[in-house]
């Protein structure tokens, strides 16, 4: 690891100021991606700004017709939250299968989405459930948050503080984890809110995306059978030693059906 300075202010405004004043400073949440990245010398930040002392960011509370999850809530906390389990059990189940137990005890929802790994699980939930990402300065719609490979709509110094998930009559995630890394080779989150059906796909492309044809089919008839014969176009999908694009397109179809049944 290269050397860096370390700050852990208790005021969110101080966090934002430190990050804004130095574009080479990095925000530290649970560190389950950032610390290994630093150890491999794949990043050389001037300083780490630790979010963990800012109060209130770990709360998970029912709010209106949904649940608000603080940015520093760990995957284990989301998985075990009675509020989440009651309102969106599919979201709790997603959190319960990220990484492994030790990673889930440290990794956070805010860190995961701000990192925007193309194979992360949470992005599919945020897009399918039409979540709203709250930052220190504004609200961002889930559909507009993920803008590309490891790219988000966050501005310099902008800090995610919570994510609001509206309730859904159906919310379920199915993934094909890479047997070694447990990252999603593909993952599909299917959500139904009123008459609106969203099918969000992670792991298969450079960033999370919606599968329009599946949404149209499920809007007409919300049943796994409605997807039989429907194949995702593999143009632009990820292709690597683990799975080529055509294979990923195939498992997206399988996972979408599993996420309904």
């Amino acid at each position: 690891m290269y050397g860096f300075d370390y700050h852990r202010p208790a005021a969110l405004s101080d966090i934002v100021d430190l990050l804004t004043a130095d574009e080479d400073a990095k925000l530290l949440a649970g560190g389950q991606t950032l610390i290994p990245t630093l150890k491999q010398r794949l990043a050389m930040p001037t300083s780490l700004v630790d979010l963990s002392a800012v109060p209130g960011l770990r709360e998970i509370v029912a709010e209106g017709d949904g649940v608000r999850i603080g940015a520093m809530a760990t995957h284990a906390a989301v998985a075990g939250s009675e509020v989440v389990r009651a309102m969106l059990p599919g979201l709790a189940d997603l959190a319960a299968h990220i990484g492994d137990p030790q990673v889930r005890n440290r990794g956070t929802i805010g860190g995961s989405i701000a990192n925007a790994d193309p194979a992360a699980d949470y992005p599919a939930a945020l897009v399918a459930l039409d979540a709203v990402i709250r930052t220190d300065r504004r609200d961002i719609a889930g559909a507009e948050f993920f803008t590309g490979l490891f790219e988000t709509a966050l501005l310099l110094g902008e800090v995610v503080t919570s994510v609001f998930f509206p309730a859904a009559s159906h919310a379920r995630y199915a993934k094909f984890p890479n047997p070694a890394s447990r990252y999603a080779m593909a993952g599909v989150f299917v959500a139904k809110q009123g008459d609106v059906v969203r099918v969000a796909v992670t792991g298969a492309g450079p960033s999370v995306f919606r599968w329009d044809a599946a949404e149209a089919a499920l809007s007409a008839r919300f049943s796994a059978d409605a997807l039989v014969g429907l194949v995702l176009d593999d143009d632009g999908l990820n292709s690597d030693m683990h799975a080529d694009a055509a294979y990923r397109a195939h498992i997206v179809g399988v996972l979408a059906r599993r996420a309904i049944a």
Binding site: Y6, Q32, I35, L38, D50, G99, P101, Q102, R106
Partner: protein, 158 residues
Amino acid sequence: MSVAITLTVNGAPVSREVDPRLLLSQLLRDELGLTGTHVGCDTSQCGACTVHLDGASVKSCAMLAVQADGSDVLTIEGIAGPNGALHPMQAAFREHHGLQCGFCTPGMVMGAIELARTAPDLEEATIREGLEGNLCRCTGYQNIVKAVRAGAQAMREG
């Protein structure tokens, strides 16, 4: 830059001035001499470095020492009874031969203790899934699973 940290390790207060890039695993092993916490892969995959941070299992190689400031850390050296009696999970690993070379064992035991406290049941599938963060390069999983089940039962009965 050095940062002053204060934490509790195995019940004893520890204060140090540390470089921010010092890992928790390095603090434990190199500064405090607690070499029971093993570093296997050093890429946060194998879980040999698992310790408890405020009661939850974490990989100490994927965490900075400064992040543990103010926390309560428990390592493999801290789980035996005051008279040196083995923790029920340690006793179960010995009884069921849950180790071959033994390198992964400290992390397995620390992970298994949390698993015993949190798992909804002690079915084989539950135990195997609960140990996903710990690798045994001897592939001695069969007896590890047996040991974890027996240790967890002993913890729940004790």
